[in-house]
């Protein structure tokens, strides 16, 4: 289904787009398997309508909302963002959606709310990866942001890409996009939003805290213990031209977000 939207060139990169086929065929979405092509193969087993999002915690308007009541299609924007995966590859994707801040404000977050917590659907019947006996993930998939990060103008909730509804493997019907952080922060198929005082434990931090931190800001100066983060392969990558590029701090969005981390030791808060 087509999704009309206003383009936001001032919020977009003019870099060459990663082709649609690659964006929808090469995914990490462990709910459907750990292979890159598993999500494209199996995400169809998930039903995304009707869809509800439970909002709770420190806010004035908690409740369970139907997705369509949360979204006003007339206000959809298109933003072309870089996506840098922690595995050292990257893509350029035209997302369609709404700024996260606008949506969160409608729930009237309390002043005590310092963090926003997100959860992905947990339904082993529709998500075969959650049925795996050997997965070390404690489902559901959890993510979180500091409230000031969530209110940053770059933080985005996507409902589509390339002008169409999100394919399930890309996190339909609603996913986060935080382009200055590694891709795993951009949680997919969101069913829960909670405002809270204490910092939430996030999925990858729970699995391997020495490898994945809460912040997960793109940072070429801090290596992943198993590989360097200095460079990335911009996909599609060819055999003769691997398409290497230098990774940029905050994925090139430093101007918009570096003030959020002023005075913080980013080697410690990786």
């Amino acid at each position: 289904k087509e999704l009309p939207s206003m383009s936001r060139p001032e919020m977009s990169t003019s870099e060459k787009l990663t082709p649609y086929e690659d964006v929808v065929r090469y995914n990490n979405f462990y709910e459907f398997g750990t292979g890159k092509d598993d999500p494209a193969r199996y995400a169809g087993e998930m039903s995304v309508s009707p869809w509800t999002v439970k909002v709770d915690g420190a806010c004035g308007r908690p409740g369970t909302y139907n997705l369509e009541d949360l979204l006003q299609p007339s206000q959809y924007e298109e933003r072309i963002y870089r996506l840098r995966c922690v595995e050292a590859w990257s893509m350029v994707i035209p997302w369609v959606g709404v700024p996260l801040a606008g949506l969160l404000k409608r729930f009237e977050p309390a002043s005590s709310a310092r963090y926003v917590y997100f959860e992905t659907l947990h339904d082993p019947e529709q998500m075969r990866g959650q049925r795996s006996l050997f997965s070390t993930i404690d489902w559901p998939y959890r993510e979180g942001l500091r409230v000031d990060e969530a209110m940053n103008e770059l933080a985005f909730l996507a409902v589509g890409l390339y002008g169409r509804e999100l394919p399930n493997q890309n996190g339909a019907p609603l996913r986060l996009v935080v382009p200055w952080k590694y891709g795993f922060k951009s949680i997919k198929s969101i069913v829960r939003i909670r405002f809270q005082e204490e910092r939430p434990k996030t999925t990858w931090e729970l699995i391997a805290p020495q490898e994945y931190g809460f912040y997960a800001n793109v940072n070429p100066e801090v290596d992943h213990p198993r590989w360097s983060q200095k460079r990335e392969r911009r996909l599609p990558s060819g055999l003769l031209s691997p398409n290497w590029r230098e990774t940029v701090k905050f994925n090139g969005y430093g101007e918009q977000v570096s003030h959020l981390y002023k005075g913080m030791d980013l080697e410690k808060f990786y």
Partner: protein
């Protein structure tokens, strides 16, 4: 009798050809996917991974031959052992080259091979394979005599290193790694049992 037919030189030779063909399959499949662009947007990653898995599987196959000979009594299994060992080395070389070319892009080589534990394990396994490949010829076997066998026992260390190299790359789902681990364990345990039985037999003691 079937056994007699299987022991004919022609049958053993046919078996060798069949095994060689199978050992080439991972490479052939990779090349065909490459030509058909079935490798996706990050082909280098796919190639590196597939070559590594192929090397590991061939190593396990090589280690399975002696037990198979014991259990079935057929000598054909041992006739393909050197070949499979060399195929293992062949895929390991390609895997290493692919890693350097596609994953590292020849940058940070020193840091990567000294700092990253999973790389160190894999590289050690590779380095230990070199003397085994070099001493795989008949003349080397003659020249080394008894020491040849001792040297080639390092394959047990290699298979453990290779498995650790694989296991340390697990992100969240360790099912596949555990399955391979069970195979490694079985291949090692049967050997420990044999050597115990052998020692007990030499001492003339009744086996317990």
């Amino acid at each position: 009798m079937a056994g007699a037919v299987l022991n004919r030189p022609r049958a053993v030779r046919a078996f060798k050809v069949l095994v060689a063909f199978m050992a080439f399959l991972p490479l052939a499949i990779l090349l065909s996917r490459l030509v058909g662009s079935g490798l996706g947007p990050d082909p280098g990653q796919q190639i590196t991974e597939s070559l590594g898995i192929a090397a590991f599987q061939l190593l396990l196959a090589t280690l399975a031959l002696t037990p198979l000979k014991r259990w079935t009594g057929w000598v054909g299994w041992l006739r393909v052992r050197r070949m499979l060992g060399l195929f293992t080395f062949f895929y390991a070389v390609l895997h290493l080259l692919a890693f350097l070319q596609f994953i590292l892009g020849w940058g940070d080589v020193w840091a990567t091979f000294t700092k990253r534990p999973y790389i160190i394990a894999g590289f050690l396994a590779f380095v230990l394979l070199i003397p085994l490949a070099v001493t795989s010829t008949n003349s080397m076997m003659r020249r080394l005599g008894r020491r040849w066998k001792t040297l080639h026992r390092s394959v047990y260390v290699i298979v453990l290193l290779a498995w650790v190299h694989f296991f340390w790359q697990a992100r969240s789902d360790i099912g596949e790694m555990l399955a391979y681990g069970v195979v490694v364990l079985v291949l090692l345990v049967v050997r420990v049992r044999w050597s115990r039985l052998l020692r007990a037999g030499r001492r003339g003691a009744p086996s317990a």
